[in-house]
Amino acid sequence: MRFGIVGNCQSRGLRDCLEVLAPDHLFELITIEPLDGGGEATLMAVTALANEVDVLFAHQPEYAVVSAEPQQALRHALSQVRPQSMIAVPTVVFGGFQPDCCVLRCNGRYIETVASLCHSAIIAGAYLSGLPAERVPALFNRFVYAGLGYVSDFVQHGHALVDSFSHLGFDARPILAAGRTFMHTPNHPAVAALFELAKQMLARVNIEPRDVPPPEDWLMQCSLQWPVYPGLPGYPFGEQEAVTPGGALQLVLGERVIPWAELIESSYACYAAHQLENADWFAPPVERAMRFLREHVRP
């Protein structure tokens, strides 16, 4: 059979998984994020692919592209596909392992640090609380995590993931039950999660998946890896914790390792450049961290 896969950045990993699970079938991929740049050609390619394949797997438009206009265009294009040959697949978003990782909109656009669009709510909250950067590493501790709901909200994140899957007829419980960290960042799943989803996608089209190991983790090679903090669910080293809070944390971006101190420095520079304290910004996790730190931390 011939399949099309249309969706966001996760669709590349899904295609890789499908190919190893069902090598006798053909899987063609269109990653549609370029639509945000006004990709008329991409849209036409989606329409053409949809008409050529036996089944089209597609992420929902609202989770595939950012802006409303291309979302509508994609929705229109997908509506032309024969209904019986299109299967909507869920996007894996799960913040339970990295609840401190968030995005920050400032004066109408997302701002960037050395971690690209990702921010630490604690770092941003500390900046907005007027704390000097030298005080920030010490704030990465279990008391602050507990106060921000980082531990207790894990279950809620799990429910949200299960709901988002079941809404489209899929089951996220095997992913959660695997007992290992399955996200690089809250919106970038490890290949193990996509592998499970790919198996369920094949089951929907009555194809028996082969008993093979997952393919190479493409997102891990090119995406940021946000650490799981000591004390949070998914932390791989049990109760062990560095003597210096924040001292052992680091980001990984491809082959580059970014020390936590560099993230703090980069974040403070970013916020100062945007004058975050006076700007119109939006990020609920940052708001929460700022309130908590202002209540508990003495400047």
Binding site: P34, S116, V144, S152, H157, Q221, H296
Partner: protein, 347 residues
């Protein structure tokens, strides 16, 4: 209306207990409203010098006493779960927590004591002092990590309230267990002032501490007591005996206010046990300040009888589940940003 006192037990009446000959605190039945300590519970303690007795003797009575910072005894490791020394005031306890979790970084880092350095927040823990300032600061880092482990891993936190008088930094309100000049002093001439904490101040400090501890460790149980050891000196312009009365009365009120209505907190009457009228002073050493070994023994026996149960813990008590802080819209925000396209442009 029937006489409201007629159905009360003997323990409610002075004449039938304390006023009767031969009364012994150990004969008072345990009334702890179901508050128990299981042998598996990890118990820690802090407080004034009387708390050292609990730290030393509880492990010998079947309690599982948690020590998170170990080292040679001669350097005062093992006196408490971590090497924080005596914690005399509630504010000191609150600030210990704050310093451990990065909530407070006092300006006074180290004091000079002759040729060596002492930690102003635990001036006696290193008998010979620290040779260098760097050694002191490095030791503090590992010490505060041990303090965090203590707060995070304990099942029962026992705190003995000891003092209301303290010395407070003029710079930032940091509280020191000893006045500058007693055992070290700031090299830069930083100044302190004397402060005698009021009941409202101490209640606020204790409530703040307990709130934070429960945020971190929701199931932790709390035992509060008041040290029966009299204060050594007062800086108030009055007799030490008068100040001692204030101290004990104020601390007793603070403890009472803290445990009322809290099913996971209990007041342990170590003060009443060792310094109550019924003892007629027999538990005091000749200095009329320190408690005799017999007194310590009886207090610890009483503590054991009150709280230690052979029953297994069974089901962990169900605690209130905190409401989720992360909203659906926050999760959905991730759908709006996706990836850096440059990052994902890799083949």
């Amino acid at each position: 209306m029937p006489h409201p006192y007629s159905a009360l037990p003997d323990s409610a009446f002075w004449s039938r207990t304390v006023g009767a000959g031969g009364f012994d605190m150990n004969s008072v039945p345990a009334v702890t409203d179901g508050f128990v300590i299981h042998p598996e519970d990890k118990v820690v303690s802090a407080g004034s010098c009387f708390a050292q007795h609990l730290a030393r003797l509880l492990p010998t009575r079947g309690f599982r006493y948690l020590v998170t910072e170990t080292g040679p005894e001669e350097r005062l490791f093992g006196v408490y779960p971590a090497r924080f020394g005596n914690v005399y005031t509630v504010r000191q306890l609150r600030q210990l927590f704050e310093r451990a979790y990065g909530l407070f970084e006092p300006k006074d880092e180290a004091w000079r004591w002759g040729e060596v350095w002492v930690d102003p927040f635990r001036p006696n823990v290193e008998p010979a002092g620290f040779a260098t300032r760097e050694a002191l600061l490095a030791d503090r880092v590992s010490h505060l990590a041990a303090v965090r482990r203590m707060f995070e891993q304990c099942d029962v936190f026992v705190f003995t309230l000891g003092m209301t008088e303290a010395w407070v930094s003029d710079a930032d309100g940091a509280v020191f267990p000893l006045a500058p000049g007693v055992h070290g002093e700031p090299e830069d001439g930083a100044t302190c002032h004397f402060h005698n904490f009021s009941v409202p101040e101490m209640v606020d400090d204790l409530q703040c501490f307990v709130h934070r501890l429960r945020l971190l460790n929701p199931s932790v149980k709390l035992v509060l007591s008041v040290s029966p050891v009299s204060i050594a000196a007062t800086y108030e312009p009055r007799h030490v005996l008068v100040s001692n009365s204030y101290t004990k009365a104020a601390l007793r009120v603070v403890a009472d206010m803290a445990v009322r209505g809290d099913a996971r907190a209990s007041y342990f009457p170590s003060y009443e046990c060792a310094a109550g009228h019924h003892t007629a002073g027999r538990y005091f050493q000749p200095d009329m300040r320190h408690i005799t070994p017999e007194g310590v023994h009886d207090v610890v026996e009483y503590f054991t009888r009150l709280y230690l149960t052979a029953d297994s813990p069974g089901e962990t008590s169900v605690l209130d589940t905190p409401p989720a802080q992360t909203t659906r819209s926050e999760r959905d925000q991730w759908y709006a940003v996706w990836c850096d396209e440059e990052l994902l442009a890799a083949p």
